[in-house]
């Protein structure tokens, strides 16, 4: 596969590309593929490794995961000192999220949830008086959402997804039918039937909804006017992974690549039009005398355990930074005079703070089988209550309490410590663990200029690149959301007959005090907002075309462009925006060629 896309470091690169892209993750890959298909010559600079491009390399990731004691989001992906992801925290609260710097980017470890934003999410200020509006609405995004659902390969049923005003063109279907919902979804859905919940003066119908996901399911023969859809298999191994096999390890790695990752898009780009240079860390965006980007300076290393490197410059007609919301901000902040006009660069960092809860169902619900989640409660993603506090969505986990308690291993150690052994131990585990129910809430955050990514030139990695400093807090609006999410949790557990076992601080979570009570949250890895788009240069970093206001040959791509995070997992929205950016870049290139 993309062996051919991997330019050996010794090979001289082109002197000039049509487009130079920083970052071989999903945003960079989607833009590169679309532009290469139009005949442009594209260079991608990737800071991390290309391990994943060979079947053996990918398998080494799987084996790293097997052998890791702590099976966190980056367990398969070895630390790389020259492309570090360790964040220096300088704020009041811990920022719980991380990312991947390697070919494929953070789609290597994402879950794959591919929700659209709700129409009201684009109009928070005008509807609810909080946050900001987007410079366009759902209707302008709708077509690009459809394109994004194709390129990442989303499995979902339209009839399940039309809620809170989300609508689809007549006759639209997703490329694949929804991923079958888990047994525990089926059991709990039956019990939820008819549940209502009151927030303020409003009463909301509560139901469980299948979750759209970039995971191969059964193709829908009605897709694209009856042309159907062919599931995309593993990068370089296309017969592999064309159906989810239920490996139950989407985070941190799908062993068969039934889950979308940017590797699939990268593998599909013709090598004739796209060079991908790995272990090439962009270190500075340089400007010419007219404020236009003159090149991307990057540092190439051979050995990641040494800071030894060589310095090069890539040049193109247009430049795209698509390095992840934190890394893009970091790179631009490390580049003098780039995107500084509005003062917004590096601000408005958002995530979904994610509190969790767990309990035991009265019966066996078959926990620890299947994709991470197959259904969620979307009923409280929007409503009048958003004037007062954060909206949220709630996922059921299909993986029992693993995330918070280290179950099932911790359940074994606890039982053995109490003296259990033999048949009794086995029976005890068999009769309790399959009853484990686990839920998480994704709470929206509003853009807060005080939540920042900054750099300190004194604080550098072995290549001399400044490390990002994170100043993160959770405001009252979202803290009230915690309190209300847990009120909902209590009602839900009561309805389901769940014995609530939520207690103490879940593993690796962070505490936050809300209304006098202590809550615990994780980061969701949904890092948004550090270089937002807008319709005024005074309050945004990029314009509607996702082009930097101050540098007419520089585009920014990724979740950093999003003005609000709302409640949906952001990748699909970011993918849609990236495809839109690619079209804008193509138009720009054509205009320049004519000129």
């Amino acid at each position: 596969m993309s062996q051919q896309n991997l330019v050996p470091l010794a090979t001289p690169l082109r002197e000039h590309y049509d487009v130079v892209i920083v970052g071989a993750g999903i945003a960079g890959a989607l833009i590169a593929k679309r532009l290469a298909a139009k005949g442009n010559h594209v260079l991608i600079l990737e800071a991390g490794r290309s391990t994943s491009v060979t079947p053996d390399g990918y398998q080494s990731y799987v084996e790293n995961f097997y052998a890791a004691l702590a099976k966190g989001t980056n367990a398969p992906y070895p630390e790389n000192p020259n492309a570090p992801t360790s964040l220096t925290e300088i704020g009041p609260l811990p920022f719980g999220s991380n990312y991947v710097r390697a070919k494929g980017g953070t789609t290597m470890h994402w879950l794959g949830i591919s929700l659209r934003m709700c129409p009201n999410d684009f109009r928070m200020k005008s509807l609810y008086g909080v946050g900001v509006d987007w410079p366009f609405g759902y209707d302008e995004m709708s077509d690009y959402y459809g394109q994004a659902e194709l390129v990442v390969g989303v499995s979902a049923d339209v009839e399940d997804q039309a809620y809170h005003g989300i609508h689809f063109p007549k006759g639209y279907v997703y490329p694949m039918h929804k991923v079958p919902v888990s047994y525990l979804d089926q059991v709990t859905s039956q019990r939820l039937n008819g549940m209502r919940f009151k927030f303020g003066q409003e009463t909301y119908d509560i139901s469980l909804t299948s979750v759209p996901q970039a995971r191969n399911s059964m193709p829908n023969a009605k897709y694209d006017g009856g042309k159907g859809y062919r599931p995309v298999g593993a990068a370089g191994n296309p017969e592999h992974g064309r159906r989810c096999e239920g490996n139950s390890s989407c985070i941190p790695i799908c062993p068969v690549q039934a889950k979308y990752s940017a590797l699939k898009t990268l593998a599909a780009i013709p090598a004739s039009h796209c060079h991908i240079l790995t272990q090439a860390v962009a270190s500075q965006v340089t400007l010419d005398g007219n404020g236009r980007v003159s090149g991307i300076q990057y540092k190439v290393y051979q050995d990641e355990s040494s800071g030894q490197h060589t310095v090069h410059t890539a040049r193109g007609t247009l430049y795209v930074i698509a390095a992840h919301a934190i890394e893009t901000a970091r790179l631009l902040l490390a580049s003098p005079n780039v995107c500084r006009g509005s003062g917004e660069l590096g601000r408005n960092l958002m995530d979904h703070p994610m509190p969790v809860a767990w309990g035991l169902m009265p019966q066996n619900i078959g926990a620890c089988r299947g994709p991470g989640t197959t259904s969620g409660i979307e009923s409280l993603r929007d409503g009048e209550f958003r004037r007062q506090f954060a909206a949220f969505r709630m996922d059921y986990s299909n993986w029992g309490w693993q995330f918070a308690t280290g179950s099932p291993y911790s359940d074994v150690t606890a039982a053995v410590a109490k003296g259990a052994f033999g048949k009794k131990l086995r029976d005890h585990l068999a009769s309790t663990l399959p009853r484990q129910l686990f839920i998480d809430f994704l709470l929206e955050q509003l853009p807060d200029p005080g939540n920042t990514v900054t750099v300190n030139p004194q604080n550098v990695d072995p290549l001399g690149n400044p490390a990002p400093l994170i100043n993160y807090d959770i405001d009252e609006y979202t803290r009230k959301g915690f309190v209300n999410a847990f009120k909902f949790k209590d009602a839900l557990f009561k309805r389901l007959g769940v014995k609530d076992c939520t207690a103490g601080q879940p593993m690796f979570s962070a505490p936050v005090e809300c209304d006098g009570q202590m809550f615990y949250y994780y980061g969701a890895g949904h890092v948004v907002g550090t270089h937002r788009m807008g319709s005024a240069a005074s309050e945004s970093v990029v314009n509607l075309k996702q082009r930097a206001w101050e540098h007419d040959n520089l585009y920014l791509a990724g979740c950093g462009n999003m003005r609000t995070i709302a409640t949906s997992n952001p990748t699909l929205t970011m993918a849609a925006l990236s495809l839109w950016a690619a079209d804008n870049i193509q138009t720009d290139l054509e205009k320049r060629r004519r000129a």
Partner: protein, 172 residues
């Protein structure tokens, strides 16, 4: 005393301790790896004594599972000399993780640098018996197949519900 075969006695003891029979344990294919690990962590002498004790218990109660359990509990699990090792034998089979031995076990014997919490190996990881005990499978290995997660699990009493989640949201 008949000759002692460590692997045989390790499996005999493991079967009583885990509640998985010897055939199930052998199917996992990691017995030798675990036995070697145990010897590495606890030393030849102590392990040999443990196998001798196991052999004696088995010789006394051939074919009496309840009596075997009782004797193993009294003479091994509740014996300070073997207790920590026996618990680790249970844990390594269930979790494929070696847990650092407790300080009261290590103190009189001296610390072993290898004795740290660790997944035994990438090969052993998928063989953790806990997944089998709960009708699941190790994350990232031995997948149950497309849509298996939607099926009623073995051992669930209720018939598979017919309800499917419906899309609905917003205000009532």
């Amino acid at each position: 005393m008949p000759p002692i075969h460590p692997m045989e006695q390790f499996l005999n003891l493991s079967a009583v301790l885990t509640g998985f029979n010897k055939v199930e344990l052998q199917e996992a294919g990691v017995g030798r790896e675990y036995l070697n690990l145990l010897v590495e962590m606890a030393g030849d002498t102590l392990c040999f004594e443990l196998w001798a004790e196991t052999q004696a218990i088995y010789a006394k109660h051939p074919g009496h599972p309840a009596r075997l359990e009782r004797e193993v509990n009294q003479r091994i699990l509740k014996n300070p000399k073997y207790a920590a090792l026996a618990r680790n034998i249970i844990l390594v089979w269930y979790n494929a993780i070696w847990y650092q031995l407790p300080p009261d076990w290590t103190a009189p014997r001296g610390a072993n640098a290898l004795d740290q919490d660790q997944v035994v190996s990438a090969k052993a990881y998928p063989e953790a018996l806990i997944w089998r005990a709960i009708g699941a499978h190790p994350p990232g290995a031995k997948p149950q197949g497309f849509a298996a997660w939607a099926m009623r699990p073995d051992g669930a009493e209720a018939p598979a519900p017919s309800a499917r989640p419906k899309a609905r949201g917003g205000k009532a």
